[in-house]
């Protein structure tokens, strides 16, 4: 199944039309419990699921296994890919040329996802958005953060990327190109951040621990 497509983001009935710059101390207000509301789409999902089980098309165990597989997709998977690319130049070349095969070497299956790897360099900084909805490389990074889906991020980062990056605490030098990638169709995008200075002696695992989700979306850089 392709969980990263365009027609079923129905968890938007709360206000996230504002940006949250990266701030580990920031506490997001809790989302209201929704387990007492049988919405149209929730009812439809339950009905379709029960029908499919009843007709023997899937088993409850298939559904549980798929949910567990989705839950296992987390930003740490992407961080492992980045750390490998930083320590193995040949891997980095393969990652850019044949992302699916290269990521499989690190032990992750990106399924049917068509991935484009965007390498940050001293000349170019890449940042990813989906202005039409919320396309995101879920097969490698898991579910997108709320701000990625917000109207504010989606509309502003294409138009004033440097200002938005600054709100995330990311200052891009004037002479460095900012390249925005609008994920409007069948490709998904993954930013390969630059390896920070002062990490020369670090192991691959230590490097992976430095890499956070937002750097792989391109709104932040990795620091040591």
């Amino acid at each position: 199944m392709s969980g990263d497509h365009h027609h079923h983001h129905h968890d938007h009935d709360h206000d996230h039309d504002h940006l949250h710059p990266y701030d580990p101390e920031h506490h997001h207000p809790h989302r209201a419990d929704q387990d007492d509301t049988m919405t149209y789409y929730r009812l439809m999902e339950e009905a379709v699921r029960e029908l499919m089980i009843e007709k023997g098309l899937v088993t409850p165990d298939d559904i549980r296994a798929e949910v567990e597989a989705m839950d296992a997709r987390v930003p740490a998977n992407g961080a492992k890919v980045v750390a490998r690319a930083w320590t193995d130049p040949e891997f980095k070349t393969r990652l850019i040329e044949t992302p699916k095969e290269a990521i499989a070497e690190v032990g992750h299956d990106i399924g049917p996802m068509r991935l484009v790897v965007l390498e940050n360099t001293p000349e170019v900084h890449n940042v990813v958005v989906c202005t039409l909805c919320s396309c995101y490389p879920r097969w490698i990074l898991g579910i997108p953060p709320d701000w990625y889906k917000s109207r504010s991020y989606r509309s502003r980062v294409v138009r004033e990327p440097r200002t938005v990056l600054r709100e995330f605490g990311t200052e891009i030098a004037d002479n460095r190109e900012v390249r925005v990638h609008d994920s409007t169709a069948d490709m998904r995008y993954f930013v390969l951040p630059m390896r920070p200075a002062g990490t020369e002696g670090m192991s691959e695992a230590e490097l992976a621990a430095l890499v956070h989700r937002d750097a792989m979306i391109g709104v932040t850089e990795v620091s040591a």
């Binding site: 027609h7 004033e160 440097r162 190109e177 900012v178 609008d182 409007t184 490709m187």
Partner: protein, 100 residues
Amino acid sequence: MARFAAGDRVRVHKQFPPTPPSHIRTPYYIRGLSGTVERVCGAFRNPEELAFGRPGTPEVPLYRVRFRQKDVWPDYEGNEADKIEIEIFEFWLDAEGDEA
């Protein structure tokens, strides 16, 4: 087969508004503008058909097209070299200078 190749100059159709009801993947802000094909992504089923439960075949070539931010937003503040890249299906593109 793909009509354009990497490096080709193309212009996005300027259609506003499309005939409703419709589902399109070419953002409003890029219509009518010229850019350079960055790569051919392959061919995919047409989302404008898929959205209505139709098969979306034959598959349509999809491109990543690179635009200068200064061309997209006349008041853009930032480096002259700043770019935006967007996936655009072939039937939204003309060769630059060739458009009707």
